[in-house]
């Protein structure tokens, strides 16, 4: 499941860009690999990140992985409902399971479209 209207990072985050606002989550493939999520650690509103830098982590029953910022910018909103309901990321990775919103700085670079990301997933799934 790889929606066409989103952009992707190789590290399995998705980005929805609307003007200078980017909404970020982890992909369906990522949530499936991790298994049932038990905890999502997110940065705070006001924190700034460069594209590709570590911004938090997701923890499942079997693993904990870092999540990386797909764009450069400032965090303007985090999905606080994940604190009590991390399973939303498993249930709706592209919907209610979004992680955070950025105010983008500069032009996003190096992101993949749905087809390119599908190739990444295919190579990693085997």
């Amino acid at each position: 499941m790889i929606p066409d209207d989103l952009l992707y990072a190789k590290s399995h985050e998705w980005v929805l860009i609307e003007g200078d606002i980017a909404t970020v989550g982890i992909t369906d493939f990522a949530q499936e690999q991790l298994g049932d999520l038990t905890f999502v650690e997110l940065p705070e509103v006001g924190d700034t990140f460069e594209a590709g830098s570590e911004m938090g982590s997701v923890e499942s029953v079997k693993a904990a992985s870092e999540i990386y910022s797909p764009v450069s910018g400032e965090v303007i909103e985090v999905n606080e409902s994940l604190e009590d309901n991390p399973e939303k990321v498993n249930e709706e990775p592209y919907g209610d399971g979004w992680l955070l919103k950025f105010k983008i700085k500069g032009t996003p670079e190096g992101l993949l479209d749905a087809d390119e990301y599908a190739t990444v997933v295919e190579s990693e799934a085997h």
């Binding site: 038990t38 905890f39 923890e59 499942s60 029953v61 904990a64 870092e66």
Partner: protein, 444 residues
Amino acid sequence: MPYVPHTEDEVREMLAVIGVDSVEDLFAEITEDMRPQSFDLPEGLSEMEVLSKLEAMAAKNTINSVSFLGAGFYDHYIPAAVDALTMRGEFYTAYTPYQPEASQGTLQAIFEYQTGVTRLLGMEYANASVYDGGTALYEALMMAVRKTKRRKVIVSEALNPIYRVMLDSYTSNLDIEFVTVPHKDGLTDIPGLKAALDTDTAALLVQNPNFFGSINDFTELFAAAKAVKAVSIISSYPVLQTLLKTPGAMGADIAVAEGQSLGLPLSFGGPYLGIMTCNKEMIRQMPGRIVGRTEDSEGRTGYVLTLQAREQHIRRQKATSNICSNQSLCALRALVHMCALGELGLKRAARISVERAHICAERLTAIPGVKMLTKGAFGNEFAVILPVNAYEVIAKLTERGFVPGFPLGRYFDGLENGLLVACTEKTSEEQIGIFAEMLRGALK
């Protein structure tokens, strides 16, 4: 469960499965020169010979001296139940088995230990323990550094200097900046600590009672730390905790303690027990094992390791810690000790210890030239300033079977005449009287 790793039969069986003839063949890849040439072991001895050799060595120890030595480690009475229960075969092993299928007893004991220490310190969560109080303090500091992503740590100089040496050693290759706020004639400099706090501060490290025995309330200081989002870490003394305001009530984020005073003999420095507790915001940063209570598929209560995704067997270099083995057997001793004494027993032990120390302080300061260093409220330990170098007195009295205390000059410049004196419920008034008279004589 048996604690023999594998029998010869099992070794043969495993070799057969992988199709190797002998253990020698299994390690054939390792060239001759890479193998240990000799373990340099002496010839074997009979049981009788070994026993007499070890007894002769043990006889060199001084074991029956009367001790007023504390400095973070205290000679409290240990009920016989502690030895009897912890030495049961089900528990008595250097290894801690964690498989829930095979180890419900061990896991339940750890869970109850965690419950006991959180209640004692008034905190929300505990881990299964770490090596000792100093290691617990280091791990607490690293929790704060990870959580805040800052590198400055404010340390009170009235924190046990033994811990401060350990922290320096553990962090010597890490990018951490220590700011040490000097003690003020043995008192924790609370205004000084408060002034040192800023938005670059990862953690604040204090101790109650402090190294000189003074009792503090850090509530306001911890609130000030919270205001700049710094993590408040307190090192506490479990036995006295039954009388003092708890770290939780003061608003500490992390409370650690040396657990030795809960049922562990002093035995020349270890093995001891590092107690670690924290509040909910810090739990994801807590290193080491944590046992949780849950239900199995049939609804029965069971115990399992929880929050394991933080740990080194899953996260390797990103683990919360790589030196976080738990002291399971020592933790069990602490649990049995707490249960055997109960709240009332622990309180009585603490009260008597404090009373004796106050009697002792009165007797010692009645000697001409001996002055109190510790001001204000103190627990079962206090510091005095002698008219001579403390080492002189320690040498004289130790020779006669009385260890008078800890020489402050060992860690504090300018306090060469300072002596730190501790009492427990084992210290009798008679011993205090003899100690005072011996000191009076030594100072003449």
